[in-house]
Symmetry: C2
């Protein structure tokens, strides 16, 4: 049986070819949304007061991926807040390379993020899923997740680019 471990991401893990976040974007059919590189990821995640935290799943060198990677999945998270319920943990990304799926790696990454949340007194773990990704929705719901967009009507909005700049200028 192939061994693998889940461990906190280190700065030096960002680098060496296409990061898994690019693969995730391609899988989600939004590849042109990737606009940053490894250097920015390192600066934002591994300085004082980091903007995110990350766990990676790593296999031994003899089980490396066809592309030569030993990091075969990751889960990226951060703490958020609700004035109604207090501390939340937000799972921004959860990705396992296709050739490493079906081994429980995704479940373990998600479980570990939940554990970190509970240890930090978070009472919710939030995330977003694309509505066409039925395999992911089935998996999350089988673990007890609730679709708040369907249940309560929450829609996700953003300002970006020029609209954000105009808003910031009070226009």
């Amino acid at each position: 049986q192939m061994g693998w471990v889940v461990r906190p991401c280190r700065g030096e893990d960002c680098g060496g070819g296409s990061p898994p976040s690019q693969e995730l974007a391609e899988f989600e059919k939004l590849p042109d949304q990737v606009q940053i590189n490894d250097q920015v990821l390192r600066e934002d995640g591994f300085a004082n007061d980091p903007f995110y935290r990350c766990l990676v799943a790593e296999v031994p060198p003899e089980y490396r991926s066809r592309d030569g990677h030993t990091i075969v999945g990751y889960g990226l998270y951060f703490f958020t807040y609700s004035t109604w319920k207090g501390r939340n943990i937000y799972m921004e990304d959860l990705y396992i390379m296709p050739e490493f799926r079906g081994k429980g790696i995704g479940k373990k990454l998600m479980s570990k993020i939940a554990e970190i949340g509970v240890e930090n007194r978070c009472i919710e773990m939030k995330f977003v899923v694309l509505d066409w990704n039925q395999a992911a929705i089935d998996f999350y719901q089988s673990q007890g997740a609730v679709d708040l967009t369907a249940a309560e009507g929450w829609h996700f909005f953003h300002f970006k680019g020029d609209a954000l700049v105009r808003l910031a200028q009070g226009q």
Copy 2:
């Protein structure tokens, strides 16, 4: 003309009766979701490494609300992250007491949060809105916001309570 200012929230602003977050929950028809109190808000927002940041809108004592409040609105936010796009600012709450609406206070709070985002190199400002709250949706869209649930299919999910604990225990 009634004066008002927007300023960063201070710990001592949390206290003295029903906080605006309770009013927001009642407005959004989810009043039973309020599960924390002023003390928790103070601990989580004003210690080292706070879980959130907040701006308040304040009127002079002579213009206080019918209930006696001088803080008549607030905008709560924090920084989040996208591995595709980098730093985000997330507007968790934006609330103005009904008797103080129509004066530009909400626009100013939202604009100031956007400004803080741009200053910190965020390229997106995210938030969620209830699908029945057409007045809010119209306001946000008039300022250039995009509904990502409608445009791309993102649904908002969570684990909470027993489901979160089971997940954290790896069950």
